[in-house]
Symmetry: C2
């Protein structure tokens, strides 16, 4: 069906929010951990964290200004640092509950049953998360198009089980039980189809093992560009 | 293991790129379809498309300026419009191959075996994609932190099978075989754990059916916040 601009505009606001939120595809699921100046903890789920660059190592995410994420934004602007923690498939309900509008004096860690964790002066991290990242704020801007806030941070520390880090640097986040989100409220686990090698014009693709070694379509159980298992 | 700033800086550039690219979690997989002024088609896979807002309906994505996506950026700046098309699990190899550095005169559609599709003056879309979106450029900026380009577009048309659009507006993108990416090169299919209702302080979460109706943890086979199936 064709959903025209007019049809989309005629949807009631909640239906439109669910519809439009579903369109970009699967989203990352992360918890942002912050402190205010008094040391009060805050934790907020976001599905907008994206990779921005590897050198310098940068990540971005979006905050809606009038949302419950406002405390997160205030804290980041106060302390200039924050943690990004993976949402894993075994605690999606606790992670989702952090999106409730708790008052500023309530620690979402306590309210939802997740465990704050500190590494020296860095934290709070989410102990239960399989990937824990510490970032320092490098840039903050209000996007004129709709007054959302774009937060960009530089990665200062990554805590992850080294068994999930492949020799070529790829991290097997599926083995780390990282969840993915679609729309506003749907949580998913994943199943790897395969890794693919670096693409070049005129060269046929070949699959890689999980470790990043060359493989065959048959060994990986993958179909090639022609839909055949060679 | 703790990957400190120093350890990350000491990685060779390809290993660091794979490592840092894996950290944000699962990413959306989309193909951007564009035309240049002469009507030559271009198609490029991107894993950075993100939801920016529902009213107005906006999506953003990131382009690295020195990358193969340069043709995409040039075309968008020329024509002020583009399509975003979902990468589905049955054509990940063709989609991945669009990342090869083809010269500007080559149509990636032809090179990788995907089918250009037009709807009046809108296109090219990817016929094989289960979600096809037409956007008009509303904003373009170079991010100072690393000279990547942030492209923001407003949604003008969505083509999707209405059987996948639930009564409450949620689109079941898993039923539409939409793929997700991790790192630079790993493609995944998904399996829904569950939808969860709107979270409020002091209210227990409950799961939703795929259609957005209230359900029980037991009926959905989900664990509640305490890890029990009620």
């Amino acid at each position: 069906m064709d959903y025209t601009e007019e049809i989309i505009a005629s949807m009631d606001s909640r239906r439109r929010a669910r519809f439009i939120n579903s369109l970009s595809g699967f989203k990352s699921a992360n918890l942002i951990g912050t402190l205010d100046k008094e040391g009060n903890e805050n934790l907020s789920i976001v599905s907008s964290v994206f990779h921005l660059g590897a050198n310098p190592a940068l990540m971005g995410f979006i905050i809606r200004p009038a949302s419950v994420e406002r405390h997160t934004l205030d804290n980041i602007l106060e302390t200039k640092a924050y943690s990004i923690n993976s949402v894993c498939t075994d605690f999606i309900a606790s992670a989702h509950q952090t999106s409730a509008r708790y008052s500023k004096c309530v620690s979402e860690f306590e309210a939802v049953g997740l465990t704050p964790f500190y590494k020296g002066k860095k934290g709070p991290f989410v102990l239960e998360s399989s990937i824990k990242i510490w970032l320092e704020l490098v840039s903050h801007q209000t996007l004129e198009v709709n007054s959302t806030e774009l937060i960009i941070g530089e990665i200062k520390l990554v805590m992850v089980n080294e068994g999930a880090v492949m020799p070529d640097g790829f991290i097997d986040i599926e083995a780390l039980d990282v969840a993915t989100v679609s729309g506003l409220d749907s949580y998913h686990m994943t199943q790897r189809i395969g890794r693919l090698n670096y693409a070049k014009p005129g060269h046929r693709l070949f699959p890689l093992t999980r470790e990043g070694e060359p493989s065959s379509w048959k060994a990986i159980g993958l179909k090639n560009e022609q839909g055949e298992v060679e």
